[in-house]
């Protein structure tokens, strides 16, 4: 068990190192062929543009570690964004109170996922597929599709658009979130239990881990983080709309998997996720600054994802072939 764990950790580390190298290579490449890419201004912009996706990816990591998935995070972002606008504009709440209420709603929504997944033991993929439609639908229904919320006070917009102490204001939220999740996943018993649950739910159960509570925890956390991301998104854009964040869940999942977290759970890291988000962010920004067609960014992301997956499998395959052991098995069940 010890050597296995060590070997596995070594593999993961190698994946992250390679990803880091890829990231640096990307950066240097776009610095050369792009115009004004490697500037401080642009780095801040990249941070600002991908802050929300980064937050969602951070929240997605423990979920995927437990062997689950959450497709509803981006729809929840949209719902929270318009609710935030409604609390502030129509209910007349001051911004901090509206923000607190929004986070509360996010937690409740995450709680809905949590209840269905951990208490009723329903498959996360389908539950969150349902809530993916449900949350976005509620956002559209509440706003009748047309209502948007704007004219937020400048003190609020500061969060999304200005810099504090030289770095974008929302970066502070992101840094705090990163530290929180890193500690949670890598330094607490909660984090260890997530991996254990991902490796083998039965084993974790017999080891005395309270499965229901732990699994519920990660989905509620995701709900809270979605709400926070929604507030930052609204501040950045200066407008809250029902279709906010469309497509972000796929970005988040891509970043997490790119970072070396296995979609089946049990293996993964926060720093991997960070690298994954950075790799995608740098790619998109670089393509824009090199004045290349935007579709290339999407295609290269897909390619990068496949290479990352294949890369993590390859060493096992090679050693397997060498030892003439059994050929690669089919992947385990989907979450």
């Amino acid at each position: 068990m010890n050597t296995d764990k060590h070997g596995l950790k070594k593999n993961l580390l190698r994946h992250e190192t390679i990803l880091f190298v890829v990231l640096v290579a990307e950066w240097l490449f776009f610095d050369v062929i792009g115009h004004n890419f490697g500037t401080y201004d642009n780095t801040c912009d990249i941070l600002r543009h991908y802050c929300e996706i980064g937050l969602l990816a951070l929240a997605m990591t423990p979920i995927i570690l437990t062997g689950g998935i959450d497709l509803s995070v981006a729809s929840l972002l949209g719902l929270c964004a318009i609710l935030f606008g409604k609390f502030w504009r129509d209910a007349g709440m001051p911004i901090p109170l509206a923000a607190a209420c929004t986070i509360g709603v996010g937690a409740l929504a995450g709680g809905l996922n949590a209840t269905l997944i951990s208490w009723l033991r329903l498959p996360p993929l389908i539950v969150t597929l349902g809530t993916y439609s449900l949350f976005r639908g509620l956002a559209e229904a509440i706003t009748h599709g047309v209502d948007t919320f704007t004219d937020f006070p400048n003190s609020f917009l500061f969060l999304g658009q200005e810099r504090w102490l030289g770095i974008p204001a929302q970066a502070f939220v992101f840094i705090i979130a990163t530290i929180f999740f890193w500690l949670l996943v890598h330094r607490t018993t909660f984090g260890r239990s997530f991996r254990a649950i991902g490796f083998s739910p039965e084993g974790a159960h017999y080891a005395g881990i309270p499965l229901g509570r732990r699994v519920a925890m990660v989905y509620v956390l995701a709900g809270v983080v979605s709400a926070i991301a929604a507030i930052i998104y609204t501040a950045r854009l200066g407008q809250a709309k029902a279709d906010a964040g469309t497509g972000y869940e796929l970005f988040a999942i891509t970043a997490v998997v790119l970072g070396g977290t296995s979609i089946f759970g049990g293996v993964g890291s926060i720093h991997g996720t960070l690298l994954g988000v950075a790799a995608i962010a740098v790619l998109h920004s670089g393509i824009a600054h090199a004045v290349l067609p935007g579709e290339m960014a999407g295609m290269l992301t897909g390619l990068l994802l496949i290479l990352a997956l294949a890369g993590s499998i390859l060493p096992k395959m090679i050693s397997g072939l060498r030892a003439r052991k059994s050929a690669p098995r089919l992947a385990k069940q989907i979450p």
């Binding site: 229904a141 796929l250 296995s262 897909g302 089919l330 992947a331 069940q333």
Partner: protein
């Protein structure tokens, strides 16, 4: 009866919806619009059948929407070059199969997780198509629509093709060995392998088949109108997975029938026109769709809980 409880409950839900429509909005049941609705959904049914097979095999394919778009555009371009329609159909199916083979090779050959592989291929094909076409529609020659048949004949042809595929596949899943093998691999790939089935080859085949069916569906969609919109196929993966899940196919594999999928698809497809007929505003559609998916999966969960206890 108990064995098909799930499928029957979906059919019952569909029945209740139709009953409600019959009482409150009988205008729903006019023959021509109904035929148009069903014809529009025929390609989706074909794709849903393929998706059911993939999910029963304990995999998933979220790239069907992008495959569908690419096949539609290719079929449209070939038809616009005045290729004989039979060849265009063959080409569309072949292109779909090639995409499916790509997915299958990565999933079965390299053992990569299907959800991530198909996520990657979905993004890649979609962006690639956008780049090449830039949203420009394909104009089709006049004789392509409905295979040159009069409209009603064309519509009935498509509907019958979709139903035939459904019936053939449903029977094949039950009575042909390959169908039993798919259930076996979906239940427990390792046990299947030990029993002499070749799970990897089978999985590869399922993905190729999924791609081929998508190509067929793309052709079925292309001949329904005189132009091809490269954005067609948007949301197809959500639609078909929802239909499959609502229809009782377990996401963990090894369980479910195509009849349930048929009922599930009809139920979900009726939501949007039902809302229009009941004078309900359109944005409730997503809420209802989400609610139906959740209800279906909760019902499944409660049943398994009862069984476990």
């Amino acid at each position: 009866m108990k064995k098909y409880f799930r499928e029957l409950s979906v059919a019952a839900a569909l029945g209740i919806l139709l009953l409600a429509l019959g009482i409150f909005a009988p205008s729903f049941f006019q023959p021509q619009p109904l035929l148009s609705l069903v014809t529009r959904e025929a390609p989706t049914l074909v794709v849903a059948c393929g998706m059911a097979l993939v999910i029963i095999c304990r995999q998933i394919d979220i790239s069907v929407g992008s495959m569908f778009a690419v096949c539609s555009v290719c079929a449209g371009l070939l038809a616009a070059m005045h290729w004989p329609l039979a060849l265009v159909l063959a080409a569309s199916v072949l292109i779909g199969a090639v995409f499916g083979a790509f997915n299958g090779a990565l999933v079965a050959g390299l053992g990569l997780p299907s959800i991530v592989v198909t996520l990657a291929t979905m993004v890649t094909w979609r962006e690639g198509l956008r780049w090449l076409r830039q949203g420009v529609w394909v104009d089709l020659p006049n004789d392509v629509q409905w295979f040159g048949l009069p409209q009603m004949a064309g519509q009935w042809t498509l509907v019958l093709v979709a139903l035939t595929i459904l019936i053939l596949l449903a029977l094949a899943m039950k009575h042909f060995s390959v169908g039993r093998f798919i259930y076996a691999v979906g239940s427990d790939a390792e046990a299947a392998r030990l029993a002499g089935i070749r799970p990897r080859l089978l999985t590869f085949g399922v993905f190729v088949f999924m791609g081929a069916l998508t190509g067929l569906a793309a052709m079925m969609n292309t001949i329904q109108s005189p132009q091809v919109d490269p954005n067609s196929g948007t949301g197809l993966e959500l639609k078909t997975i929802a239909a499959v899940v609502v229809g009782g196919v377990a996401i963990s594999g090894g369980r479910g029938t195509l009849w349930g999928v048929f009922a599930g698809l009809l139920l979900l497809a009726c939501i949007s026109p039902a809302l229009t007929h009941l004078h309900v505003e359109a944005f409730w559609g997503k809420v209802i769709q989400g609610a139906i998916i959740l209800l279906a999966v909760v019902a499944d969960g409660l049943r398994t809980r009862k069984q476990r206890n």
